[in-house]
Symmetry: C2
Subunit: 201 residues, 2 copies
DNA sequence: ATAATAGGGTACCGTTTGGTACAGAAAGAG
DNA sequence: CTCTTTCTGTACCAAACGGTACCCTATTAT
């Protein structure tokens, strides 16, 4: 186990990472200075550097943590939504409830990072992994709403891509300060008249 | 009109703005330093400041210019696409051709700015204007594909929102480095088997 | 006790940042 | 020609940046 030699840490790593996740999420990477990170975390700079490495490495840790949490959330929502076409509708509803929440107003940290760090920082790799895993989750949801044997069909892929892309777009919209009521598309799209054919993918 | 007193400018403002638009588009606002702006534009710092003001004001000018250009592009694509449901499909195809282009790989400057500058810089206001105008364009496209008298229906609004959100998501995906071939959803979604009901909005 | 180990906190480092003062150069106006 | 106006370009500024050296304190091992 951990030898636990020397002075014990006075702060909880997980709690600090959670606070810093919110901070980066709100402000982005470049707009967040180490000074601010120190202020929010309550941990002094040298301790941060000893524990998490450079600002870049710290952000990578935050992203890794967020990625796992986010994918888990997707899995939970999909399970909660249930099978069939109804499940797809219910999933989108659940997703939009989250998007309207206080945290959801800031969009998605992963989307933000991939937009900001295009090639320059480690967040770029994470964004690809994130999108691939997110797409895989959506795919299981879609497949469960299709007739058997269509799991690998073109329709399954098209609907998966469309829904994935839509959800990413929704997070962009939320972060750009949209009025939640005016952009709640699913309730409209799922009205009786369009239900069934509405959520084509 | 312009008195033209004093030494004439040695650089073309429009050309410089075009170059800097590409620069900001690629790198974002925070990751682009004045030093780099000087290098790319070929104009020395004091001249830039006299002409465009601070970095923040310069970026605002770039955004304003991009906004107008972008909305004009939307209008052109919609006109080129033609009316009816076929027009919607054709529009999405045209849009995706642009998204796959070299410039399109960097996503949308407006989306990028709204993600990065959330509240801190003038880009935030522009992003709202952009989204509203973009949505308005999409709406005209959608309405032309619906039966008469349905212009203000719930379906029209829902389909407008869905397509708008999808297009924003597409730009996020492109910027995050997706393989253009694997994410070209429209060709799949518009295959004969799904055509008609596929593009529900 | 005492040595060894590791975190806490101050004070500081070199660099880079956005932004400017100032002197010289090029144009029109009288 | 000379005065005024505007742009160019060097050289520079204070402030903020990410990152660290160093000393002190708290803990375990012997």
């Amino acid at each position: 186990m951990d030898a636990a030699i020397g002075r014990p840490r006075l702060f909880d790593e997980e709690a600090v990472l959670a606070k810093l996740t919110d901070l980066f999420w709100r402000q982005g990477y470049g707009q967040t200075s180490m000074t601010e990170i120190v202020r929010i975390s309550g941990v002094h700079k040298p301790s941060l550097y000893r524990t998490f490495g450079t600002k870049e490495q710290l952000f990578a840790t935050v992203l890794r943590r967020y990625l796992a949490e986010r994918i888990a959330m997707f899995a939970a929502l999909i399970e909660q939504a249930g099978p069939g076409v109804e499940g797809v509708h219910r999933f989108v509803e659940l997703f939009e409830v989250d998007a309207i929440s206080e945290r959801g107003r800031d969009g998605c940290l992963m989307v933000m990072a991939s937009n900001e760090l295009r090639g320059t920082l480690p967040g770029y790799d994470f964004s690809k992994i994130y999108r691939r895993q997110m797409r895989e989750q959506i795919r299981t949801l879609i497949v469960r709403a299709l007739p058997e044997g269509e799991a690998d069909s073109a329709i399954a892929q098209a609907r998966t891509d469309l829904l994935t892309t839509y959800l990413l777009g929704l997070q962009v919209i939320m972060r750009s300060g949209a009025d939640p009521r005016s952009t709640n598309t699913s309730t409209l799209c799922m009205s009786p008249s369009t239900r069934g054919k509405a959520r084509c993918a």
